[in-house]
């Protein structure tokens, strides 16, 4: 079953899973957007503009980073190769465009993030599925009976661990009763995702290491977890004093 899945969605077809997750996440987010006091059309535009900014920003920034190469081969700017892309630059561009659009439409910051949370949670599921299909985000070797053969070793199925965690996070957020504190959904998603990543990174075989073996992703996740918890407390305090 797993082999069939991985064969069906072998790269570059694994991206279909991400696109499907974005579509599903947007559909689910639209169902609840009105409870955050946001118009559906404005919310859709926010998402579409951000996605467009992600796609264009990633390509444009890659071109600018390797300008001399593209001057010699200008048609490559329009190449369908998805590897001609700067993912971090794309994310930064998408966030910038989203923030600018949100400010122009006078969208409430925390409520908007809450409205986007189902999309983020579904996207996380899609990403883990695509990792499973492509064999990325792989685990370290193990002798455990549920190890998965991948890249010439029996490994922790970390893609499955992360998939299960992201499904639980989505279910918790989707099924919980809506509260009055704007920002709670988003901060909860952030804290849970950072926490699960912090725990599961220990089983990864592709960790980036710093300071004599410490996994850098765990350090980043710890700070994100701390920031989410602190931000939640600040919001609670502000609500009480308001």
């Amino acid at each position: 079953m797993l082999n069939l899945f991985r064969s069906l969605f072998a790269p570059p077809r694994h991206l279909i899973l991400v696109f499907a997750a974005v579509w599903l996440g947007l559909t689910l987010a639209e169902k609840r957007v009105s409870r955050h006091g946001i118009l559906k059309e404005v919310f859709d535009n926010l998402v579409y503009y951000s996605i467009l900014a992600y796609a264009l920003g990633g390509r444009i920034l890659f071109v600018l980073e390797h300008l001399q190469v593209f001057i010699n081969s200008p048609l490559s700017i329009f190449s369908p190769n998805i590897d001609l892309f700067d993912p971090l630059g794309a994310l930064a561009t998408a966030i910038l465009v989203g923030v600018v659009y949100g400010q122009r439409q006078k969208l409430p910051f925390w409520a908007t993030l809450d409205a986007l949370t189902p999309l983020f949670a579904t996207l996380a599921i899609g990403l883990h599925l695509s990792h499973l299909a492509a064999g990325t985000a792989f685990g370290r070797p193990t002798a455990l009976p549920w190890g998965m053969e991948l890249w010439n070793a029996i490994r922790h199925p970390t893609q499955v661990y992360e998939l299960i965690a992201s499904i639980f996070i989505f279910a918790f957020l989707w099924l919980r009763k809506p509260g009055s504190l704007a920002g709670f959904d988003f901060l909860c998603f952030t804290a849970l995702t950072a926490g699960s990543r912090l725990i599961l990174e220990a089983f990864r075989g592709d960790s980036s290491l710093i300071f004599n073996g410490i996994r850098s992703t765990q350090v980043a996740a710890w700070f994100i977890l701390a920031a989410a918890l602190i931000a939640g407390e600040i919001l609670r305090t502000r609500e009480k004093t308001a």
Binding site: D83, D206, I214
Partner: protein
């Protein structure tokens, strides 16, 4: 839950998380990558020794110290054909800097008689290797053609590109990164 209790719980959570970070330190100092040969970015490229069209044997590990592009292709594959001239161009531009292309023909799934005329017609000068037994297709877990593996000087895989044709800019950016 009261505010004080909640904050104590959060502090315990952060402390436990910090302890987990220290507990899960990778004492070996590296991830799996680089220790096991596998057709995946960061891993050691699976070694092979194949004959060229001229009958010469080329072994991948003999090229350690030079950046290499291993390109899996077949004469019947349209995107493979489309990118071969671009490969020839970048090969000629960078070969003096130590870069080489090893174009491995999937001969077990191709017409062996068609390979030489195909190469001659296009004036390709980089080494064309013949995978008669399908060993490279298996070792590199080929799922689609073309498949390209950019290999660093130390023998580890810098990037895997599945499908094509690869844009000239993609080739040049990756090669220049490996030549640094």
């Amino acid at each position: 839950m009261q505010q004080t209790q909640r904050r104590i719980l959060f502090l315990i959570l952060l402390a436990a998380s910090f302890a987990w970070i220290l507990f899960s330190v990778d004492k070996s100092g590296t991830s799996t990558a680089g220790k096991i040969p596998a057709p995946k970015t960061g891993f050691l490229a699976p070694d092979f020794a194949l004959k060229t069209l001229e009958g010469e044997t080329i072994k991948l590990s003999d090229l350690r110290g030079h950046p290499v592009l291993v390109n899996l292709w077949a004469t019947w594959c349209p995107p493979c054909r489309a990118e071969m001239q671009t490969l020839e161009t970048v090969y000629n531009d960078y070969k003096d800097q130590g870069f080489t292309v090893l174009a491995v023909n999937m001969t077990s799934e191709d017409d062996p008689q068609a390979v030489l005329p195909f190469v001659t017609e296009r004036g390709l000068t980089y080494p064309i290797l013949l995978d008669n037994k399908g060993e490279i297709a298996k070792a590199y877990q080929m799922k689609s053609l073309p498949s390209s593996f950019f290999i660093n000087r130390d023998g580890t895989i810098n990037e895997v590109v599945i499908g094509g044709p690869m844009a000239e800019a993609l080739l040049r950016t990756r090669i220049e990164e490996m030549l640094k």
